[in-house]
Subunit: 397 residues, 5 copies
């Protein structure tokens, strides 16, 4: 399918019922990664082996120069290639989504002179953020896009970017992504992206991925606060601890995503000015600040989760304390009373078997005020205990 200027009004993906496909891909992401990783054991380096549920590739081409742009999805790679090659004076963003066609991947690899190990990294989908310089001052950039899912897990997808003299070639395994704001900026009348070399587009993509770390972290932060409130207001349960430990896992995972991101940018900033010119480095330096901020945030959440666990453990102990207090108060009040009652339930006999009176055997029982007196004594004991516990503060929580 060929798309002209009219296509430029088309904001989303053109044709695909891919929402379902995307969800499916997302659910099995982790198993897929593991599966891919296990299949690769012992394989020849550079083997292209997409996971079983890899989506069929969709191909998008954005072509632009300072005066305008053109945007379309292509059904065939040949069409796209032809269109791309017919406009050598323009800049292009070739945007491949889905790895489910090995033959196509190999063609792209050869046409754009990628190393098989790089293509393996793309399709493997579990590469941490990195930068590699290859060929004629070209860059291979890997970023990881994050999302905090409804299932309270961080879903991360790989964005692989290759720069070329007049193009950026990007790969990802889902049809939907967090890059729409960049597309929108190209579509808008004036954009830095149209004014600058393709490396700037690579920067813009990296920057937007980093920007999306904040909503992810904010969602985690909100969730931590929610858990904190549950513990303070309600009661802690084993299920709650499991959720706390799950969010801890998420944060640990996020840290493992964001630290390499910082290292990547640092390495990029140290590259020779011929590879990354100073005018672009200024922008990556800004990215570096963002990466550091994201790391700071993740460290901060880490501390919060550890505090949460302390709070949980303390609450658990607190509740035990309360249980024990109930037991102790009831026992302390009624056990002495029961003793008194038991005392006057004894059967010591007033009358001697052989006649005569045992005056010392429980004379209280025959006193006209015996029972009321005992009741009063019992009330005094109970009252004394209550006062004792009140003074100890056992009635306060």
């Amino acid at each position: 399918m060929m798309a002209g200027a009219s296509a430029a009004t088309m904001p989303g993906p053109a044709t695909a019922p891919d929402d379902v496909a995307d969800a499916a891909a997302s659910v099995t992401d982790r198993d897929a990664t593991r599966q891919a990783r296990m299949q690769g054991v012992g394989a020849r380096p550079g083997t292209l082996r997409p996971s079983a549920n890899a989506l069929p590739p969709r191909l998008f081409l954005f072509s632009y120069d300072q005066t305008g742009y053109e945007e379309a999805e292509y059904r065939s790679y040949d069409e796209l290639l032809q269109r791309f090659r017919s406009q050598p004076e323009r800049r292009h963003w070739i945007d491949v989504r889905g790895y489910g066609d090995v033959a196509l991947m190999e063609r792209i690899m050869l046409d754009f002179e990628l190393h098989p190990l790089q293509m393996e990294d793309v399709i493997g989908d579990y590469q941490r953020a990195k930068v590699e310089v290859f060929g004629d001052n070209r860059l291979f950039l890997v970023s990881r896009m994050t999302e905090f899912t409804a299932r309270l897990e961080i879903d991360d997808d790989q964005l692989s970017i290759f720069t070329g003299p007049n193009y950026v070639l990007s790969f990802q395994d889902d049809y939907e992504d967090c890059l729409d704001s960049v597309r929108q900026r190209i579509r808008s009348g004036f954009s830095q992206i149209k004014q600058r070399p393709p490396l700037y587009l690579a920067y813009a993509l990296t920057d937007v991925v980093l920007d999306h770390y904040y909503p992810t972290m904010a969602a985690i932060g909100d969730y931590i606060e929610e858990l904190e409130n549950i513990i303070i207001r309600d009661r802690a349960s084993k299920r709650l601890l499991a959720r706390i430990l799950q969010i801890k896992k998420d944060i640990v995972r996020f840290r493992r995503l964001v630290y390499p991101e910082r290292d990547k940018i640092l390495e990029l900033l140290r590259l020779h000015d011929e590879v990354v010119p100073e005018e672009i480095k200024v922008f990556f330096r800004d990215c570096y600040d963002h990466a550091i901020q994201a790391m700071d945030l993740s460290e901060s959440y880490r501390e919060s989760v550890s505090s949460l666990i302390d709070l949980y453990m303390s609450d658990q102990s607190n509740r035990m304390n309360e249980v024990m207090k109930v037991l102790t108060m009831i026992s302390a009040i009624f056990i002495p009373l029961s003793f008194v009652a038991g005392l006057y339930g004894m059967n010591f006999a007033r009358e001697r078997p052989g006649g005569g009176i045992n005056h010392l055997n429980m004379p209280e029982l025959y006193n006209p005020w015996g029972y009321p007196t005992v009741l009063l004594i019992m009330a005094a004991i109970a009252g004394g205990m209550l006062i004792y516990f009140f003074r100890k503060g056992w009635f306060r929580n």
Copy 2:
């Protein structure tokens, strides 16, 4: 508004009912930061987007040379600029408070040749301390001013400083700040600030921000001691743990503020002498000592809070112990007594149904000294138990 020598007697901000505004800004600081951060997701780099409750900018100009100074607040930026430009031989401190006017911010950016990414950092208000060299040996310095609020939280605001050949341009988002001592020093007859290049003023501002870390830390230290005393003297409650964990968060946050401050100064000290001359580096070296001291303090408080949590947990366990002791002592004393009472409450019959005496069935009941003897035995049991517990030290706390 134009201000001459007479204005020099004016110590605070001239005209604004800004106390209320400032409080409002302060309360929503955190949400504002999050909001600003979220709005920025996917935005073009260098986008100026102040938070919704940013205050309208107030503009102050301090002009001085070795012989005198002039100080005024300006209603219009044009007036300020004109006054600034009309005295090229003097040194100036342009002091902008509040970011609520994007157009003005953009004008300042262009007039003072700032990079849009720098202005974005200024307005974003969540940039950690850093130093950047730009233009013709100019510096962009970011510091974070701290305050320990009545709500027991660290409030931090950003101070952004740009140096120029004969001026310092500073930005902050509140009308009130911790920089008054510097203003007072300029106003005083003789001051180093008047004798030295603008970079010295930048140093003085950085130094005073660092100085203000100490009252913040002292407040935290006092609060930790207060909590410690509460645990040792009173009783620990779940609410108390929540407060301990809150102060832990504050300390963690303070550390994240002060570490970049140290790194910033270190980086600054490593800059070429053309950018920061040796005579100024001497002063920043003193700042470095202060930053290290602040870090030391924060590490020390971190340990204190961790000890506090240990103490809290132990106290919790201690109180459980006490509850159990009460239960155990009461049970240990009365349960045996109740048994004895129960024993003599049994109904074994002395007389056989068919006549005759069961001499073995509870003869104690018919003994004239039966009851007193049992009472004595009970007293002995209770006394024995009390002695046992006393010896075990259960009556001591």
Copy 3:
């Protein structure tokens, strides 16, 4: 035994009933290591002292060039050496399994110009991953091959690799290994291994060892999840904690294996291009990514195990809580009831010994509705308690 082209169809080891031998070696691995380590105390450096249960060496030779290959096991070292030397234009993989023959080891050492300290490292079998450059740009590479055994322990074996101008010489102490996929790749029609220098084969062996870290880690990961489910669904036991701590030990051990692996590759990447040419470094860079991933995984599992211990401790506390609740509920219901029963079991006498009625002594006993009323009061107390506990949520888990 001489092997020609026909041998090329022989995929596994040719002749040995070595499964049993291998299992035996495996079981005593750890003791053997300790024993070897202890025997070596005070010994002359470079002493070759295989452990007591070292297997008799088996000798394999793979010879290949771009047009074909030949593969055989040799009964005698002389035959192997002769065959190896008769084909100087081909490339060879001399694959020695088992160290049980010191004389043979010394011959190989001399023939292939290895340093006695290197041979000691080979036979010692407890050397962490490392790389050494020796002789004429030759490399000595040590890797550790891992396996997660049925006894839930990591079994690790040493793979020692020496490169030479036209050969790779490898040593290991078991007959079976994880290198079959490399052998298969040589056997297959077209292989990079046949096209490239021997160093590439050394890389391929290193890579396949690293690849096998993933199944090991995956097994550990599965096991952690299984333990997590046991704690959440079932009940924690002391035995379970022992298993958790065992898996923690495994992870700690794995980390100690994989960190040197990364350092080794990093050191290798920093070697001069004459020692490791750039075309091979590209491949080791890929290995580096794998090593980092393995480290990330092990760190992540470490955190998971630490969470598991938290969960276990909390569960233990939870179960105590439940026990206490049962005790408290039963006590709180029946102790007051028992008191009431005891109260009306007292024997205060209605009739005065000297005649006359003590109207105040337990008139309830003579009330026609006395007993039913008391039963109702008891029911009310029990019901009240139950409602209280229900409201406190003690019936929920």
Copy 4:
């Protein structure tokens, strides 16, 4: 006051009733530091502001050369200065104790060409160990002198040393210090100090400060052992934990003192040989070993305190366990007995209201052996329980 050779026999400070003053200064040390720190907030850099309870300065001069020495305390700075200047060929130690006279401090600063920031560091009294090179290869050395006080706290005082061509100028805020052994060495007939440049005296002072870390650490070590014995032999109390946490704070504080000490010496060792000649570096290298040892010791004590907390927590849990055992044993023995007694306290009637016998209603009560049998059963129950608990080991501690 002028002092000649006769003064050389005077070992301590000449005239002052300073023991009291020193104690007072010591008690308020911490508050003074905080106060000084707070007063300095916002002050002009280089402001000299001694704390409110700073002692009036006492001035000592040691003058020596290879043939003899002279030692005296001076009432007036002018006299001291005159004496110092009149012997340019000798070496001098100007020893200032107490900062309570700002005017004097400023005079010294000007006369000896110190930077105001340095004098601020001296008087501030909270500077961590550091070395600065200034002027003509002069050194500014700050050390912290420690003492473990009777109140179980580390008291640390600052020793500030400035070197000059033929003198060492030192400052401290107390009249008493740990430097007497150095003074004694100068007084003794032959001393390296008299043979070598002033820098050697600076070394000797630094070395003796470092040496005094050992008694401090030894006192802490003894105290830790004492606490350990208390926990193991006696019983842990909340007060004990407070003491453990106090000693933990001390150790943390000591670490913060000694780490900068090591860094200072390391920095000094890296200075150019013109500043610190190799013959002196040999001695500072020895100091470096001492600093490392002190760090090692402090790390070791840190571990010990952490073990102490574990031990305390476990002891607390142990004591709870014991309390529970007492409760359980008493309950387990008497509750069943009470039940049996209660059983035979029931009033089931043998005689039917309407006449006739209920042969099934508690015939035991009428059995002539009823009571003895029940007593035996009770003894059997109690004995069984005791055996059960003995077997479970509950009687052992």
Copy 5:
């Protein structure tokens, strides 16, 4: 005493009843170190002050060349020196054991041109491992020899080695050491030591000290496993925790021994080839591997001990759980039964005082099946409870 070839058959120390002396020295090692450290406070650097129980020195000389060797103990230092000096073409190992003679130590110091600070390090006996280059490319090497004593503590002694052009001079404070295997190797016919420069002997001594770390660590490892088994099979006691914490201290101490050892070797490997020739560096590189392995082991044991503490704490909690279960089960069974018994022990009267029957007052008591029915009810309650607890798994451990 002069010793010729006949002395060469003498394997142990010649004359001393030093076993007792050695044991004594060993027992008081720690106090001696502390004492030495404390005496040195404030002393002139380079002061030689052996501890009070230092043994009288014993002097051994090993002289060898490629053709033979000679070995003897000398009663007098002069004899030894004369023999040493009379064979300038041979290589010598001067082996001094015991520091108890300051005058002798000073003579050796002067004769062999050692620095007083070095001799102080030797005699101080608390120097961590280090290497120093001095004089004419001479080395001063300090190692720490370890032993795991029967009292379950690590005993460490210092081995100080000085190299010279044709000799190695070593010092240690005990008569017995772990260096006999090196002596044996010199005695044996062919030895590398005889072929190579004295530095190789220094290496051999360092290597054998490192080798002896393994038995020490193995003993610790065995002990950890033993403790683990005690906790899992038997019961944890406070004494056991004290032992765990003791072994933790040992491991911490071992780490502090072995880390400097690695640093020492690393520093040595970085020395110029003129100081340590490449042919010797090969051997020290092997030592480096050993040091790293020892560090790995110590880290691994550290983790094991931390797991052990977790296990202990959990076991303690487990036992509390069991105690509570016993209490709860007995209470839950008998408290309801006691209530029922108490119920039927109430004295509600069937007959009204004024005549007539209270039919509602405890008619059960008069029912002919009353007692058996109540017994059945009681049995049902007890059985129900037992089933409930069985189902909850409380009878399983």
